[in-house]
Each structure stands twice: as C-alpha cells, then as structure tokens.
Symmetry: C2
Subunit: 153 residues, 2 copies
DNA sequence: ACTGAAAGGGTTCCAGG
DNA sequence: CCTGGAACCCTTTCAGT
C-alpha cells in the first residue's frame, strides 16, 4: 500500500509541491530528465492517487481572515452515533481547515480560520449546540510563523 | 491593505482553490464569465499577492508519512535573541508544517509531520538541544478527519 | 525506458464594440 | 469592461531507437 518513489519521483514531487504552475519542460529540466519520462511518472502517480488535488495558496490576511484558532476538545461521549454527528458537523463547516482525532486525554484538535473573534464565537456556539462537548480550550494565534503543505520528501 | 474581492473575484478564488488545474475556459464557464475578464482578474490578484503559490496535495500516508503531532510549547525565555533562534530553527526544519505564536499560557503550537514516532523523537531531541524550552506537550493524531487549505470565501 | 516530433488544445494578448 | 480571434507555447501522444 505504501508507494516507494525512486529518486526521480521524489524530485518530481518536490518540484510540484514547490510550484505546480510550471511547464513540463521546466520541471523535467529541474529534475534532470526530459518531458516524456517525467510526464509518464506524473501520470502514474496521479492515477495512483499519490498526486492529488492541484490548488493555489491564498493570502488569508489580505482577504480578511485575521483570526486563526486551534481548538482542543475533550468529550465524554464515545458512542458511534455521537461521533458520526460530530464528524459530519466538522466536515460541513468551511471554517474548520483541519480536524484530527487524538490519542491521550484531549480527544480532538481543530484548526479554525475566521475573519475575527466574533466569527469564532458564532462557530463555537453552533458547534456546542449541535453536539455535546465536555471541555473546550481555544488557542488564539498571534502570528503565523510558518505554514506549508509540503511533505519533507 | 485588505483586498475587497467582488462577487466574481470570490467565485474565481473558490474555483482555483477547488481545482487550479483546469483551463481558463472551464473556470470562466464555472463563474459565468469568459476568458479575458477572468484572465485579467487572475493576473491582477496574482500581482497583488492575493493568489500565491500553486501546489499539489500529496497523499502523505501513501508516501510513508504516518505520524502527525501537534506540539504545544511553553517557554520561560522571551528575549529577542532566543526567539530569533527558535523561529529560525522551526523554519529550517521541513517536518514542521505549521508554527504559530499564541496568546495565553501556551506560547507556541507546531504541526509536525514525520514518518514515525522515532522520527518525531529525533526532531524533538534536535529542537530541545538547540533552544531552551520550559515545557512540551505532544498530541499524536490518530485520524485525520479533515484537511484543507481552502479559505471559506 | 528515453528522444524527438507532430497534433491538438490552452494561454496570452490585442483589436474592436 | 466584454467578445472574439490570432499567435504562440504547452501538453499529450506516438513512432523510432
């Protein structure tokens, strides 16, 4: 199930992560190969789902998203039905950029991106009205020091 | 400093976030306009830095990155020099995908993506050997429920 | 498995409404 | 500010090595 990229595959993935907007020629040159072999490898990796969605990074601040919260959630409920509803709620809410189920005494962590603290409060009220939650801690980001989706290949 | 996208700009940004790999024609059709105006808007937003890097989402699990940690850091040091070194360390470490400075009693949160728990421990040892840190809590992700970089425009 | 080339399609730009 | 079209570049495929 684990895909084992060879050296050239890894170089291609690194280049695509860094800038997916370049031409095949440029990427081929960057990895020291030529168009067709690089094209075949990209095609294979796309079909295998290794390479997924292509997207653009937007400037969140400039677009008015000035508040990022990390939300630590403890719950006492662990039934299937509660969890199903909780996950559905998270997936339906576009301000939730990340959600992970955790090991340990904190059950879930969310990354929530909103325009301001009021918008966070609206999200919070909506969340606790939809599912029972035992304890919530919100950590407010003052400064985004680093943000990347690139894997350290 | 805050860019005010109009309705069409917002539609374009939504489409690009969802799939930046389509042709201008397709995007123009999706937003109910045509090539040239959409192209001009994208160009303007690129030049303004609203639209940044173009990238691909890779399948982390399939590539062997099976462990994600959220790391909560408390420090007693708040001098400029300590902070400079700490930030430089975080930025230099490719396994750190996110780093935020926080308000409140936890000073920093990191998202760290590694192949396994041993690789996390190596990162942790390297970090505490480079800068003094008062207290560290590592939260291990058991399940990635949701992960997106899209802003809720 | 790579090279080179050819066809089709897409991006970029410009003239005109 | 939009439409349509022309030129050029890139992607995609294929035959040859």
């Amino acid at each position: 199930m684990t895909f084992q990229p060879d050296d050239t595959d890894r170089k291609i993935l690194r280049e695509l992560q860094a800038d997916a907007g370049r031409s095949l020629d440029e990427i081929a040159r960057a990895v020291g190969s030529s168009k067709t072999p690089v094209w075949n490898r990209i095609k294979r990796m796309r079909e295998a789902g290794i390479i997924g969605q292509q997207t653009v990074m937007l400037d969140a601040e400039a677009l008015g998203f000035e508040a990022t919260f990390f939300v630590l959630i403890r719950t006492s409920e662990h039934e299937a039905e509660w969890q199903r509803k909780f996950l559905a709620t998270l997936r339906a809410r576009p301000e939730v950029q990340e959600a992970h189920r955790l090991a340990g005494d904190i059950d879930y962590i969310l990354k929530v991106r909103v325009k301001n603290a009021r918008a966070y409060d609206q999200f919070y009220q909506a969340l606790i009205s939809e599912v029972r939650i035992y304890n919530v801690t919100a950590l407010l980001s003052m400064e985004e020091i680093k943000s990347t989706v690139a894997l350290p290949l």
